[in-house]
């Protein structure tokens, strides 16, 4: 179980203090599929980076399985079973996809296992195993490999940051299937940051963040219809044609 208690992240930009994440408290139960959504710049990625330890909160506490991880490094949190697929995956010159998956898994992976992970993100494995994770990969390809590295790890908490971004429709369906499979059976908790209805529909829990604050949180069945209603109201131009 992941617990955030009054977590804030403030930055000082030219003497002005910005509250990027403002007093956020949430609980992510074990085995739950949680979707975090909200407008661009709302603070979703920052929240994920705080959970992973890439940024440290300026106040508040983060607990994982009752351990206070607030001051733990990224490495220590990774060893506790937390993983994060970046919104913008970094590229590596000279590292093949197979090596990257093996590094994620912590040991040299057999070919068929690598292939399994790549297939689950909609990549034809043969073509990619020995490709380098460098700038020669397209945005969507790099994004999918990034997701596969999380699948190769044994995690208690997996965070995916907009996994659908830049991914074609066919691969997207594949991805949705993989997330479905992930949320069933395993005890791992999955947090997906997403703007996609189809991913939200898989959620058990939803969190809506805007302006660094939690706007809504609760079971999907409660939040999702509300969100859709709000969306329709706000878009007054819908159906109104010139």
């Amino acid at each position: 179980m992941l617990k955030l208690e009054n977590v804030s992240f403030k930055v000082d930009v030219d003497g002005e203090v910005l509250e990027i994440v403002d007093n956020v408290s949430i609980e992510v139960p074990d085995g739950a599929f949680t979707v975090i959504t909200g407008p661009n710049g709302g603070g979703k990625s920052t929240l994920a980076r705080l959970i992973m330890g890439i940024e440290k909160p300026t106040s508040g506490r983060i607990l994982y399985n009752d351990i206070d991880i607030t001051n733990m490094s990224v490495t220590e949190r990774a060893k506790l079973g937390i993983g994060y697929a970046f919104q913008q995956p970094p590229r590596f010159k000279g590292l093949t996809v197979r090596r990257l998956l093996s590094l994620a898994a912590g040991s040299e992976l057999p070919v068929d296992e690598c292939c399994g992970y790549l297939t689950s993100v909609g990549l034809c494995s043969k073509d990619y195993l020995n490709r380098e994770m460098d700038n020669s990969l397209s945005g969507g390809e790099a994004k999918r490999i990034e997701i596969a590295t999380l699948m190769a790890r044994k995690l208690g908490l997996a965070i995916f940051d907009e996994p659908e971004a830049g991914i074609d429709l066919w691969s997207f369906s594949m991805l949705v299937e993989s997330f479905k499979a992930m949320s069933k059976g395993s005890h791992q908790s999955v947090i997906v940051i997403s703007h996609q209805e189809r991913i939200m529909q898989l959620a058990d829990e939803m969190v809506v963040i805007a302006g660094g604050k939690i706007r809504e949180t609760g079971p999907k069945d409660k939040i999702f219809p509300k969100l859709m209603g709000e969306f329709n109201e706000n878009c007054g131009f819908r159906g109104k044609e010139e």
């Binding site: 890439i54 490094s73 990774a78 995956p89 970094p90 000279g94 590292l95 090596r99």
Partner: protein
């Protein structure tokens, strides 16, 4: 063979035993052991130190190993190796120099390698430089490489210096006739107070000659690196030069790629980049459970692979 010898040979030529095919092992400035084959003849020069390696035309799938090892302190070795590759031959040449200097005097090896590559011949040349030993004596390697490529020949050169060489100045010149192709890859890691400089001049003289020069390096601690590749197009040709360096600590790297076109049909491109290890790369690997040093090592090894 002694333990130090076999360690050095393994580091520079991946040799675990006496190689198959032709070879010449040079140790502390003298010939140590040698074998010629039916198609590859190795003869000692009479006018100066060194050997001629003569590969018969149309030789296929053969290899030559010519490692040099220095295990004494205070050795100053200068050697001329001339390769004559016959028309249509295809060979692998493995060179390299390993210095084990546990004394306090400088040990140095300067290899002057000249390649005459015949029409449509194809060579792959691999050269590794390596130094070890705990003495204060410097380990110095100053290789000179001259390549003359005839029509339609292909020359692939891989030069690696990963560890333990205190000072190196590399000088490479190549001339390419029509349709010849040269692929030169240089990989370098310097640390401590090491110094490395590499000057290259590639002349694309013939129609449709092409060349690709790739230099990748990592500079750590207080080390200094200077790269100065120059591709000169004298005909309708294509050339691509890339210098890519990772800089760390208090190191200095200077990349000065130059391109010269003496023909309006020459197409020459260069790219150069120097930068730190990207922070996102480090963090990504740390989210796999590595610490910062481990992550750095993985990035450097991948980059120099």
């Amino acid at each position: 063979m002694e333990k130090i010898d076999s360690n050095l040979l393994e580091s520079i030529a991946d040799l675990h035993e006496i190689p198959a095919g032709a070879y010449n092992i040079r140790k502390n400035g003298e010939g140590f052991s040698r074998r010629s084959t039916a198609n590859i003849e190795i003869v000692t020069k009479t006018d100066k130190p060194g050997i001629d390696i003569i590969v018969a035309p149309f030789t296929k799938n053969e290899s030559v190993h010519i490692p040099v090892i220095i295990t004494e302190t205070g050795v100053d070795d200068l050697v001329y190796n001339d390769f004559y590759i016959g028309e249509g031959a295809e060979v692998l040449i493995v060179a390299g120099c390993g210095i084990h200097n546990s004394g306090d005097e400088k040990s140095q090896h300067d290899g002057i390698h000249t390649f005459h590559i015949g029409k449509n011949a194809k060579i792959k040349y691999v050269e590794k430089h390596y130094g070890e030993g705990d003495g204060k004596g410097e380990r110095v390697l100053n290789p000179v490489t001259v390549v003359e490529q005839e029509e339609g020949s292909v020359c692939e050169m891989e030069m690696v210096q990963i560890k333990g060489v205190d000072s190196t100045v590399r000088d490479t010149k190549a001339h390419l006739a029509a349709g010849a192709r040269l692929i030169m890859t240089e990989r370098l890691l310097t640390h401590g107070n090491q110094y490395a400089r590499s000057d290259m001049e590639v002349y694309l003289d013939g129609e449709d000659a092409s060349s690709q020069i790739i230099s990748r390096s990592v500079a750590k601690d207080n080390s200094k690196q200077i790269f100065h590749p120059n591709a000169i197009g004298n005909a309708k040709c294509r050339a691509h030069v890339t210098c890519d360096s990772i800089i760390m600590d208090d190191a200095t790297v200077s990349s000065i790629p130059a391109i010269t076109a003496n023909s309006a049909d020459a197409q020459i491109v260069h790219e150069a980049a120097i930068g730190r290890i990207n922070n996102d790369q480090l963090i990504k690997l740390m989210t796999f459970g590595m610490n910062e040093e481990e992550a750095e090592e993985v990035i450097i090894q991948g980059f120099l692979k």
